[in-house]
Subunit: 343 residues, 4 copies
């Protein structure tokens, strides 16, 4: 992986305070294990929007994974499938919806959606995802504009990879007049200020697809309530991995408030800062049915390709299994708020 | 900039605890962004004492900017004017009231006032400011005596720059018998202990000028209430950039108490520790209509002159604009206490 | 001591957060000494399950002390006996129950029990301990599976010492078909997942022995209550020295809750993080009748054999005696919660 | 000053946690200055047990100041006298009661008393102090036994200076059979365990002298109440500069509780951690009429003799004067709890 790619994939906004806080928020929590619980039949399975997965740790949508490995998202998705984990594909992936769908046709996959200026193109993305067997649409709502990422500003670096979903016939609509195929300006593409996207987008999405809808990027209880009132199927607590508004609250620190606001009316997930298998238990105790993470998988992808990601999953699973036994929680449903020390 | 000048402009009192705390207080706060808000028409404008400015970040009064650049305050004021920002001129500026007034005749400017032992000279300063088109008098109240600044004591350094407002005919009154023109002893000049200045000064000022009055250097709710009762137009929360009483509470940490005491009866500002455009949103959420900062602009002035200050403003504006979009607050009036995490 | 042995004996699980927190939890506490108390007749004696010991600091069960010194547990037990302190022998000790019993026949000793897959072997251990004059059975309940210890994973190191209790006729039952004498696979031995051990084990133990029962590895008040309801004689607060579930609450931080739950119905001890004689007073003020520690003694054992452990005890006793005089507590019964600052 | 002397004079007990905390406790506090207060006539004077002193910072009793300078306590006392400050002489001073008395006959001085095994010798000390014009007896109550000072243990160092009060006729009673004059074993001398000193000592002291009595070494509110009930004139909050029980609460952190318990029925002082003139204001706001410090003066004594101590006082006074002006408190009586931020 080039230093530029590393900076893009691993860096965050401004002073990277939120990036660091996401990890620190997990590390601050303390377990209160229960003992003499029968953990002989412990298992790590979870059900997410009706889909059974082998463990409650999924691959968060990370853009342009071709920066880490030539196979990009295809490699990551394969490793996730072999590990029994959920994979979430980014709109701005290196490999297209169709490539990933044909690589892991039967694996549980979700599609992360950026709403583009061009509504027709956005709708086409949703339809392609549904056609490709993706099982939910994960609408990202915390990117009205790209965050202020200084690593890139300092390097003067520009993303120079193909973005699979913007190529060929299907991608034509997203390109500016005269732009080369694949040479999409990410900054323009992702600057949503002109779109004036509001909660009305939920209604539009419901008209385009029958897939479950997940709203990703919620940090406040009030927004969680709005999402539930709009009939969203799941709320995904996230600060975009510290890449958007620096000094946003750590996603784990926002989780409790959001889960309380949702109050069981939708599923709740979290991403940002998960580095150990046991972190999934922390997230669960605070109200998240599953936790997602991106950077560890992308680092593993860069270091060892598909096998690297499989290895990352194996470590996380091993850590999680041991932690469940040690916490006295043979299944995820056994994990309660009381398994964390207060404060 | 010489090391001595750097120490003077960037240093603080004693152990520089408050200097560091001012910055840390901003960095400790956490945003709780709202999503799916229409931020297409976001703008950063603010109205301060009736004057419309392009952004809620102003240039705090910093003494002797000639230490950083030959053009001193004229350069800074020009850059502020071009950036649509408010400029506040110090009594002990390198360039005089009249020089700044003629450099940026139409730009929003305020004049910071030190009350001198010689009341006639003080009154003349106010009259010169009003005549020069400055739109408010900012009375500094936290300098009954200079703070204990060890950097200077260790170097044995003495300020050796012209102080424009003390030169020529107008400045004669401020000089001791036999003192050379411009060779003012700042320590004597600013030692207010003999003045026994009290809240009565407000009445005197009202008699000298019809300009709005701002009291700068308030950290307690009780003093804020006194200021409001005296009819002050705005309260400026400040610990003088950590240059006066070390271990004074960080200005941002005092802001909430002061704003609650003012209770809407006057405008409230804050300075001390602002380093990012998003800091203006932190300040706003805690009750400040605008935030001021000095050191970043003076550092920029030393590094790049007027263009350097313009660049500093451009960065702050860009950061602020992105942060407003990401926080879900298209205007400053949208920013609420709830946009910060409690505690 | 080899680096591998050091890592095994001094290391902890995963990021060693709990390992560090155990120590930090003691160091965070602050004493509030009382003065002008008659401390002339101060003494450090304590009574633990009816046995009088000279000081309230015992040797926690540490596996495989042959890694630190050829005499292993025999040396440690001798030093403890000479120091008037309680010694707790591990099931997975280098030297057998019988060797330790014959080395210090009259000294107060407890036996730490791991429940093995083979119930007959487990029962034999208990019977051997009782026959050998051990005065209590300390049932470890926080090891349903070994913790995730990265130091060992990185080194690829395997424990290569004899485990005395698994040798000879008595140890045969614990060995797999074809395993050499003494070459026990600790990972298999200690993986209790298949055992499905629950609170029912207490009833089984009561049927095997009339010795007092201590449950070691309690961190939650609810488990402490369950232990008391099952008639356990003492609750030992422990996170296994940070070797099991990383990020478990520091044992000292769990002590208050556990002691409140026990409410005088059983004795309470604590281990994890004790490094100074005065730590025993911290533990006492929070509700522990005695504190145990392992790493300091094992380090002393490696550095100076039996004499090293005696020296460690001498230092701890000297520190404790001075601290008791300085705290104004001539006996341990004088130590009250009020001797610690709140919070 | 030799490294050994430095370690003795500047070091603390065990891990020196309390030593560091004493300083940190001052540095954590934050001022809330008041403005536009008339501070023209500010002054730093205080009245301590009826004696007017020029500033509320006194010299705490430090043993064996001959380690820092040949003139020892005579030099320190002279500098204090010239600075208008209170000097407190230690029982275990290098220079005797009589030497100090004749050096500064008219200066305000107090005598710190260790109660010796030999009651007649102790009584003689009190009588000598009264005869020498010392104006109060400061009874140290936090040294039932010397603290555990590892710097000295590591060096194997023994105090090797004359102790003036134990020489000649007057000192004979304190020496063991066969001990040389001046060669007193400090460890034996100060080990009070055999003395079994209790609150009854107060009654004995009242019988020996009509001087005011100060009890030094109080950290708990309960002990403060006992002192008041015994008719003590002043309570001196202290942890002996972190030299006795390590992890004792920082004296400043104990001050509020003690002052509340005293409730105006006696004067309250504090020592431990004062390093800046403004620290006296922190102490005052929390209820102490005066603050004492030792290490800064002894360091100054070692660096510059009597002139060094005078310089230390000059700096402290300058810092204090500026801080009082900046805090808006023209006299010490103006300092209120509200001048510190809560928490």
């Amino acid at each position: 992986m080039t230093p530029e790619a590393w900076d893009y994939l691993q860096g965050g906004a401004e002073d990277e305070i939120t990036l660091a806080e996401n990890v620190a928020a997990f590390r601050r929590r303390r377990f209160v294990p229960r003992v003499l619980v029968d953990v002989a039949s412990a298992n790590t399975a979870a059900t997410l929007l009706g889909t059974r997965v082998g463990l409650p740790i999924g691959v968060a949508p990370v853009a342009a994974q071709g920066l880490a490995d030539p196979d990009g998202e295809v490699a990551t998705a394969r490793a996730a499938a072999e590990s029994g984990a959920l994979f979430c594909l980014s709109t701005v992936s290196s490999r297209s919806i169709e490539e990933v769908a044909s690589a892991v046709p039967d694996a549980p996959r979700w599609f992360q959606l950026y709403v583009n200026e061009d509504r027709r193109f956005t709708r086409r993305l949703v339809e392609r995802a549904e056609a490709g067997g993706f099982r939910a649409i994960v609408l990202t709502v915390d990117l009205p504009v790209l965050g202020y990422r200084e690593r890139e500003k300092r390097r003067g670096w520009e993303l120079d990879v193909r973005l699979g979903n913007f190529e060929g016939e299907a991608g034509r609509a997203a390109r500016e007049e005269g732009e080369e195929e694949g040479a999409v300006d990410l900054d323009r593409l992702l600057d949503m200020r002109s779109v004036a996207m509001t909660w009305d987008i939920v209604g539009a999405l419901r008209g385009w697809t029958s897939l479950p809808l997940v709203v990703k990027g919620i940090l406040s209880g009030d927004d969680a309530r709005l999402a539930v009132e709009r009939g969203i199927d799941a709320v995904w607590v996230s600060n975009h991995g510290g890449r958007q508004l620096d000094r946003s609250i750590a996603s784990l620190d926002a989780l409790g408030t959001v889960a309380a606001a949702v109050d069981g009316r939708a599923e709740v997930y979290v991403d940002g800062g998960l580095r150990r298998g046991s972190d999934a238990l922390v997230a669960r105790a605070l109200g998240a049915r599953a936790a997602f993470t991106g950077r560890p998988f992308v680092a593993a992808l860069g270091a060892g390709g598909e096998a690297g990601v499989r290895r990352a999953f194996a470590i996380l699973r091993e850590e999680l299994e041991r932690a469940m036994a040690l916490l006295g929680t043979p299944t995820l449903d056994h994990v309660r708020p009381e398994h964390l020390a207060p404060g």
